[in-house]
Amino acid sequence: MRHFTAHPATPSPAQRRVNRAPLPSRREMLRRSAAVAALLAGAGALPEVAQAAYAQAAFEAKSLADVIKALGVSAPVAHPGLLLTAPDIAENGAVVPVGCSTTLGGVKRLLIAVDKNPSTLCAAFELSDAVEASLNTRIKMAQSSNVYAIAILVDGKVLFAQKEVKVTLGGCGG
């Protein structure tokens, strides 16, 4: 006697009971998958992919040392080949133009950090071979502070450059 398997689209009565529960909203799904991803990433179980899970812990770190620790990279070494451009004095702490660039090869990530900001890590850029290791953006600075550019190379080396930027009007809204 032929064994008939149910059409895949037809739920069994038991499955229909479960299905009656409403699907979680997209926002909830995103939140849950982000939480699971963060959990896995924290356990080191996720492979390093181009678009990694949001580095929540790194963005919550309150000092450069904690950012480095949260990212799990080696201690940065100052390198003259990594250039950080930022004004000596920022008139408006809410909008401080910064740039970081290097002609060194093998740069995988570029980070910008402000030591005395409530959220020290400003940005983490993941570069493909198709872009130059040269970025400009505008950041907020709560107060006069050191600004850091950090380059993480494919071989694991971590380089940094720093500049002190004086802020006349703090920009984090506090």
Partner: protein
């Protein structure tokens, strides 16, 4: 929901310089409103830049990026007529994507 991004991509030699101005409040979560209540954090968390459909740059941002974020970068080997697209996702899960042609 938000205004379109302003993307300018200019070819120069063997690369194109891309300048993007995004429209976003980028609330840090540090500010208080008139009543003294904290205005919740609302900021772009992820940015993806693509060249002719291929992702060339991704970024993760925190609350320290300025309101109406600005980003400038250079794409190697881009020439006039190529398509550059920028997409962002914020901490509410909202997203926006805009495209421009390299001049």
């Amino acid at each position: 929901m938000s205004d379109p991004m302003r993307i300018r991509a200019q070819a120069a030699g063997d690369k194109a310089t891309v300048r993007v101005l995004m429209s976003h409040e980028m609330e840090t979560g540090q500010r208080k409103d008139a009543a003294g209540k904290v205005i919740p954090a609302w900021y772009i968390q992820e940015v993806t830049a693509s060249h002719n459909g291929k992702v060339v740059l991704t970024a993760q941002w925190g609350t320290s990026i300025s309101k109406n974020p600005f980003l400038q970068f250079n794409i190697k080997g881009a020439k006039a007529g190529d398509k550059v697209s920028i997409a962002w996702v914020d901490n509410h899960g909202d997203r926006r994507s805009d495209e421009a042609t390299v001049a």
